[in-house]
Each structure stands twice: as C-alpha cells, then as structure tokens.
C-alpha cells in the first residue's frame, strides 16, 4: 500500500446544488480507502505511550533500564529526548510533549516506546519505573481559580464578560436556574493514528489523521527543533473528527521515535487510549436568570457560566468567548449581563467539540425559556417566537445580524409538523428499554419538547481565517480536466465532493481530480467551526475564477460559452493558486464583550417527541424533527447527513453520553461504558432545509455542521420534562434522575 492517499477523480455531471456522490465512496465501501491506522511501511516499528495513572502528581524519578532490555525495543524516550520546545498548544503553549517534573491529568504522556510489535511495546512500557508523589487534584471548576495554581499564571484561562443595556433593569417575571452539562466525547470511530517516516534531509514525513495540517506542522516542527519545511504532513484517511483532532495527539511522539530510531514509526491508539488521548467537550455549570414582562417579552438575561478546561488550555479561550457571546441564544434581549470563565483543573483537558461553547449555553438558555413559559402560563414555542431574533437584530455584543436569521420561522416549521402516532401495536423495539422487555407500554408517558439554537460560523474575534486553493485546467485525452489541491482536511463531511462540484460549476468541466491534502500547498485552515465549505469552498471558487480569467484572455473576446474548451486550451496548462478570506471580524472588548466578533450565524430548531418509562427512567426518543437554514445547499444529500449526524450527537448528550470523572479519574474509557447512540436509539427525522442566501458568503452558504447539535439536546430534555414533570437541570439525563432513586 502506498502511504500517499489516492487521488480522487470523478468524471460525472454534478455541479453545486446537486447531490453529487462522494469521490471516495467506492473506496470506502470496498474497504480500500486508506485510513491513518491502515498505513504500513517496510521495516516500520510501533510506538506506544506511557501515561500517568494520576490526575496530579510530582514525578520523583523515571527508570528506563528494564524497558530498554526487552528484546525488540528500539527506543524508550522521555522529555529529555525532546530536542525542541517541550511545550505546545493551540492558543497557549502550555502542554508538554512529554511530562517533565509534574503530571496534571490522568493519561498525560510520560514516556514513549518504539518496538518491533505492539505487544513488545506494551511489555516494555510495563517495565518503565516511574515514581510519583501523588498530589491532591484540583477538580471543581467553580472554585479552581482560588485553588492550588496548576500553571504559572494561575488557574484562570479566560474570563469573558458581556455587558449590554441596563444592568439593573427590573422585570415582572423572573426565573432562575442552575444547569450542568457533563463531559461529552467526540467518539470518532477512527482512532488517533499516523505513520512518521524519517527523511534523508534530517526531517520527517508524517502521514496523519488530523483536522488542520498546518497547525500540526508548526507545532511538530517547534517540538522537534527543526525548520518548518523539514516537517511535511500528508492527510491520511480520517475516521471522523468533531473537534477531537484539532489538538496534537501522537503527532510529535511518532516523529520523535522515527527520528531517534531512523525507522518509520506507526502509532495507533486503541479505544481506551483514545479517550485519554484527545480533548473533550467542556463540562459546564451555568447559572441563569431571565427577566420578562407579563407578555413574555424578555427584559434581561443574566448568566454566570463556568467551563472546565481541564489540565491544559487547548481551545478553551475560544470556547469561553462562544459561550459568552452566544449565551442568551437566538433572542432579542436589550439588557444582558453574562460572564463566562474557563479554568484549569486536573480533570481531562477539554477543547473543541461540535458546537464549541454554544452547546453548553444552549442547554441552559433553552431550559430557561421553558421555565419562563411555564411561569407565564405560555406555550413554550410562543414565548420563543415572541423573543426570536431576526435579520437586523442586535447581538449582546452589539453586532448587527446582517443576513437571514429566521428563528421564528424555524420554530413554526417544527411545531407545525404532524405528530407521530401513539404506537398501538407493541413492538418492543419501539419501547423504552427495547428488547430488554422492560415494558409493553405500561408506565410509558409521551412528551414533546422544542428548542432553537445559534452558532457562529468560521473563526471569530479578528482571527485571520483563510484558505488556499490551487486549480489546474488542461486537456487530458482530448477532454478538459481540472485538478484541485488544498490542505483543508476531509474528515468525512464531504469537502472533497463539494470541491469537485464547485470546479464543475465554475469551469464547466466534468472530470475533476482532488489531489491528496498536504503541506506542500498553503494553509487551508481548520476543519472546524462549520467553516470548510464556506472558506475552502470560497478559495476553490476564487481559484476557478482566476483560471477563468486566463481562459477569457485565451478566448480573445469570444464568449466562453460559445467556445470548445478543449480546442481553446490546446496544450496550454492553466494553473492558479489563490488565498481567500472571509470578511474580517474584530476582537471583543475585554471589559464589555462588545465587538463585531463573528462572521456569520447559523440557526436550527428541533422538536423532540419522547416516550418515557417513568417507573424505570428509560427514554425512547420517538421522533426528532429539525428545521435549519443553510443559506444554500451545495449538496442537499450531504446537508441532510450533517443535520442527522449532528442531531444524533445532541441526542447522545441528552440521554446517554458522559465521560464520568471522579477525583480527576475517568471511570468509563470504553464503548462498553461510554454509550453513543445506536440505530435503535436514533429515531426517524423529518427535516426542513431553508436556503436563505447570505450575500456575504460564497454561493450564499451558511455553515451546516454545528447548529443541529445545539438545539437537539435541549429539545429532547424538554420533552422528557413534559413527560415527567421533573426539572431535569443536568445532561445527560440518567434513569435515576427520572426515578429519583
């Protein structure tokens, strides 16, 4: 097998707006698509990572002697073998490649082994003797700032205040609540993996599953102490990401082993190690107070939000900004007092996961809207519609929402769908508890709930967020053929399909090849913040425009529509590379949170229908309907796939998914104990897709991936509340929350 992924070529019709098929689909269904964990190299060795068993401890000594004696072991490395900077991080370089004198979370990498077989590496790891002096971990996010400082600057990663309007406005009706969100895992199926191959120039070629090649490249080069150009990354097949691959995992480790041993080094985490090896969604504690008049119109929202960043900062700063600036939800509120704190603790590090701060806030503000409706005796959808923001609304940051914000319409769409029938014939598979045969309908109560959410699309707060695309056009075998190349990571979402569709539409060709994604071309930015179709799509479109300009020159005044493209091109090759940026954003004021921080806003609404076995606390989500505005559906089938998949992850957070952490230790690092929705848990969805073009975005697109993850969770919990009459202020909702046992 070649280490370089296959070029993906399709020669079919299928421009933007059509449901063109994935160019990698055939390879994937045949089992021939090369994921990072599938890579193999002659003479390769296997790397393994020794991790801290303690959430917080001082390392007294490390003895490698016995490990090095194991036959088949090529290298055992510690922080002393890190030739460059032993610190990395997305926003703050605070995380060691390998721990030095202290470990700050359970699972922190301490040493590496390179060996001829994964089992040899495991046996050698067990012979590394690390003496720890165990320390009392900091585990409470609400008090962490005043606890033992875990980093030189203390335990506050970032505080974002947002102040708007009258800070003391009185209201006729006031509802308050305290809410909690548990630690969710991305649980992508393809484990962290990659293969590092030492190069003759002293550098390294890394084949890797990641969300952002260039930010990996710069962090790896700094840790290895080699120039950037000597670290070359190629994207291997990525088995899902959802935020969990923004941070480094085994990238530097594999390169260290490869450079030390001179041998290609493969590292693959198993599922347990994967739970320790990547950041999670921040757990949150949120205090809310909503004030409204008697008609249900919001007068003010006050919130204090705590996010547990865990041992290292990762992207906590940006998550804090999202939770704060989106903290009141998609509602018009004149008076806002929001504070959000992201803190260090000795819990597992937390960072990016689909929804990125907006999920935690969304659960709390939507729970509050239901509580407000109840206090007023209003319908929960009506109270939302009475406050729904729309185009022209002003965010709590002062930013004017200058494209479609059809919040009321989305709510009406999900409300007006027909209700699923109450099941008459008992099929156990439709019952709470399923084939466990816990009920045939007795004790089962139906509930319906609604929610709507808001998410910023693309990178915010003045970040120079761009992508680079190269498009080449030439005649191959008598037919015009295009090639597109970027460094933007395809992680399963279908960027490769969208790129082909854009090229077909812009250049009028059918045959389009997507080159493997690598660092030989400029930065493509991160596959996150629902941004790749917008930004890399925009870059591909712009590169096509540059190619078209050259075609127009060749045509010498003739209309391109009237010209035979192959004849016009002849032997010429047109090859254009462009950088493309979305419109600039601004930092927010550190005292007031005011500023045009975000590029674009995305909205989705859900209606959930649930059956609850109130005696056993078991929940069956019967139907989960969604309405979302996507600006322009470049690939309608892929858009539905994003909405369905995002809603399923929201369902997981609502009723089952939580990394359970006690005293800083993870109790359930496996798919046996960390449950994600199966096909029996995920109900049918009826989906409305609106296409209200954003005039600022390429083709009018609006980011799709994240909004459905936000409103899915609170809609399901609202439905469980409706069925049970319980307050349910924490997600995931567990059976004991319902039964009270």
């Amino acid at each position: 097998m070649s280490l370089t992924p296959a070029e993906l070529t399709s020669a079919v019709a299928g421009g933007i707006g059509s449901s063109a098929q994935r160019p990698d689909g055939n390879l994937k269904v045949r089992g021939e698509f090369a994921y990072a964990s599938d890579l193999w190299h002659e003479d390769m060795i296997w790397g393994a990572t020794l991790r801290s068993p303690h959430p917080y401890a001082r390392i007294v000594s490390v003895d490698l002697t016995e490990a090095l004696r194991v036959p088949g072991v090529y290298a055992v490395l510690t922080h002393q073998d890190v030739p460059g900077q032993n610190r990395y991080g997305l926003e703050h370089k605070d995380q060691p490649v390998l721990a030095e004198d202290v470990v700050r979370y359970q699972g922190e990498p301490v040493a590496l082994v390179g060996a001829d077989h994964p089992e040899t590496a495991q046996r050698a790891m067990k012979r590394i003797k690390v003496e720890y002096e165990v320390l009392t971990p900091v585990v409470d996010m609400e008090t962490a700032v005043d606890d033992t400082p875990l980093h030189p600057g203390g335990n506050l990663v970032r505080h974002v205040p947002v102040r708007r309007g009258d800070q003391h406005a009185p209201a006729e009706v006031v509802v308050t609540g305290r809410y909690e969100v548990g630690m969710q895992d991305q649980a992508f199926l393809g484990p962290e993996s990659g293969l590092a191959v030492p190069a003759e120039d002293g550098g390294v070629d890394l084949y890797i599953a990641t969300q952002w090649l260039h930010v990996d490249q710069s962090q790896v080069a700094a840790a290895l102490g080699v120039p950037l150009e000597k670290v070359r990354l190629t994207l291997s097949g990525v088995g899902g990401a959802f935020g969990g691959r923004e941070d480094l995992s085994m990238q530097v480790h594999a390169c260290l082993l490869a450079l030390h041993t001179g041998k290609p080094t493969k590292m693959v985490y198993n599922r347990e190690e994967s739970f320790y090896g990547h950041v999670h969604r921040h757990p949150a504690v949120l205090y809310y107070e909503h004030g409204a008049d008697r008609t249900g119109k919001l007068v003010y929202v006050k919130a204090r939000i705590f996010l547990d960043g865990g041992a290292y900062a990762s992207s906590t700063s940006a998550v804090v900004a999202n939770a704060a600036t989106l903290g009141v939800g998609p509602y018009d509120v004149d008076n806002v007092t929001v504070d959000c704190w992201g803190v260090y603790t000795n819990n597992p590090p937390c960072g990016a996961m689909r929804g990125f701060g907006a999920v935690q806030a969304g659960f709390a503000y939507e729970s509050q809207m239901d509580k407000l409706a109840e206090a007023l005796g209003m319908d929960p959808v009506d109270v939302r519609i009475a406050n729904a923001m729309s185009e022209g609304s002003v965010m709590p940051t002062g930013q004017v929402v200058d494209s479609a914000a059809p919040v009321a319409r989305l709510l009406k769409l999900v409300r007006d769908k027909p209700m699923p029938p109450l099941s008459t014939a008992v099929d156990l598979r439709d019952m709470p508890g399923g084939v466990s045969n816990t009920t045939h309908g007795e004790g089962v109560v139906r509930g319906v709930g609604y929610a709507v959410g808001i998410k910023n699309i693309c990178f915010s707060e003045g970040y120079d967020d761009y992508s680079t695309a190269r498009v080449r056009l030439q005649v191959i075998n008598g037919e015009p053929a295009a090639l597109a190349h970027t460094a933007a990571a395809e992680v399963g979402q279908g960027l490769v399909t969208i790129m082909q569709q854009i090229v077909r539409t812009e250049l009028g060709v059918q045959r389009v090849t997507i080159l493997p994604m690598d660092t030989s071309i400029g930065n493509g930015g991160s596959t996150s913040a629902s941004r790749q179709t917008y930004v890399t799509g925009g870059a591909v479109k712009a590169a096509c425009a540059a190619v078209r300009e050259k075609l127009v020159e060749l045509a010498g005044g003739r209309d391109l529509a009237d010209v035979d493209l192959a004849g016009l091109l002849g032997d010429d090759v047109i090859d254009e590379t462009v950088q493309w940026r979305h419109r600039a954003t601004e930092p927010i004021d550190p005292e007031t949170g005011q500023g045009n921080a975000h590029v674009q806003y995305g909205f989705a609404a859900h209606r959930a229908v649930v059956d609850v076995d109130v005696e056993l606390g078991l929940v069956k989500v019967v139907e989960l309907d969604c309405a979302q505005d996507v600006g322009k559906a470049l690939n309608p089938q892929a858009v539905l796939g994003q909405i369905q998949g995002g809603s399923a992850q929201g369902l997981g957070l609502a009723v089952m998914e939580e990394i359970q952490v006690e005293g800083g230790k993870v109790r359930n690092p496996s798919f046996t104990d960390y449950l994600i929705p199966t096909v029996l848990d995920m109900p049918p969805m009826r989906i409305d897709v609106l296409e209200l073009a954003d005039p600022n975005a390429p083709y009018g697109v609006r980011g799709v991936g994240e909004p459905p993850t936000i409103s899915s969770t609170p809609a399901i919990v609202a439905a469980i509340r409706a069925a049970t009459g319980l307050a349910l202020t924490r997600v995931p909702v567990r059976p004991e929350h319902i039964t009270g046992t």
Binding site: G25, V29, G31, L189, G239, G641, S670
Partner: protein, 161 residues
C-alpha cells in the same frame, strides 16, 4: 505460530503470529487486508465485522489461532471485481458514507441481513444493525441504503435502479 486460513476464497498463511493476536490484527497487519476496521477492539462497535464460515463476527474478538483451516470473508471480498455488491452500491448512492470508518462493518452486517431476510422491515433493519456504531450519519441514510439494497436485490432490473 503459523496460521493457515482461507480469506476471500484464497488460501493464506501467516508465520510468527503471536498467540494473543486477534483475527482483526491478522487480517490488517499480516495479510494486507485493512478494510476491516479497528474502532474499539473490544466488540462494541462492529466496525471489524467479517464472515467466519458464513457467520458475521467481530474479528477483534476472535483469536487469530481460532481461524485455522476455516473460511473468512471480509469487506474486500464482497464486490465482484469492479462491480460493487448491491449493498455497497446502495451505501454510496444513499449517502450512507461519511467518514466511512464504520462502513465496512455495516456493509458486512447489512449484507448478512439481506441474505437472511430479503425484505426486512425497519425494526428488523434496526435490530440487525444495532451492533454497529456510526458517529457521523445519525443512521438515517444507512437505513435508506439497506432499504434500497433490499429493493435492488429483490428486483435487480426493477424500478429501484
């Protein structure tokens, strides 16, 4: 130890197999067949599903030594040359593939279901695929794919095409 096994109709042999290795490791790392996937390696996700003597199993839970002189059929053995199996074809067309890491296991599980139950009801499809985790799709399009494949297999020249 040495393991001799028929894989996708071909007799294969692997030497120096450690007794603790799984069938999944044997296929992926020793026989050059990485199509079966290593998502959990503890029998929870179904992404490593293969046929062992015509019974679908999680290959991560089968010791390599257990397959001596037996027949294994993997996702790589479902297509007829360039022609995809109807299940594979339907997965691509229905949009049931995103990252695709669960796809090999789901394709084998769906293939087995349609061999046993040519026209399954939705609850039957859900029950049959309940051992296969997918994190991208929310399963809706996987259900679409199985329904489409069932229609195609029942009536190869018919309206489903």
């Amino acid at each position: 130890m040495r393991v001799t096994v028929t894989v996708n109709g071909e007799q294969r042999q692997a030497d120096d197999v450690w007794e603790g290795e799984s069938l999944l490791f044997l296929l992926r790392e020793r026989l050059g067949l990485p199509g079966s996937k290593n998502a959990c390696e503890q029998g929870e996700c179904g992404s490593c599903t293969v046929y062992l003597d015509n019974t679908p199993v999680c290959s991560c839970l089968v010791a390599a030594g257990q397959v001596q002189d037996r027949e294994v059929r993997t996702v790589e053995g479902l297509a007829d040359g360039d022609r995809l199996d109807p299940v594979q074809e339907a997965f691509v067309e229905a949009g049931a593939v995103q990252c695709g890491f669960c796809t090999p296991g789901l394709v084998v599980a769906a293939h087995d279901l349609l061999d046993r139950v040519p026209r399954p009801s939705d609850p039957e499809i859900r029950e049959a695929l309940a051992g296969n985790l997918c994190r991208c799709t929310g399963y809706e399009k996987i259900l679409d794919a199985v329904r489409l494949a069932a229609t195609r297999k029942a009536d190869p020249e018919g309206a489903g095409r």
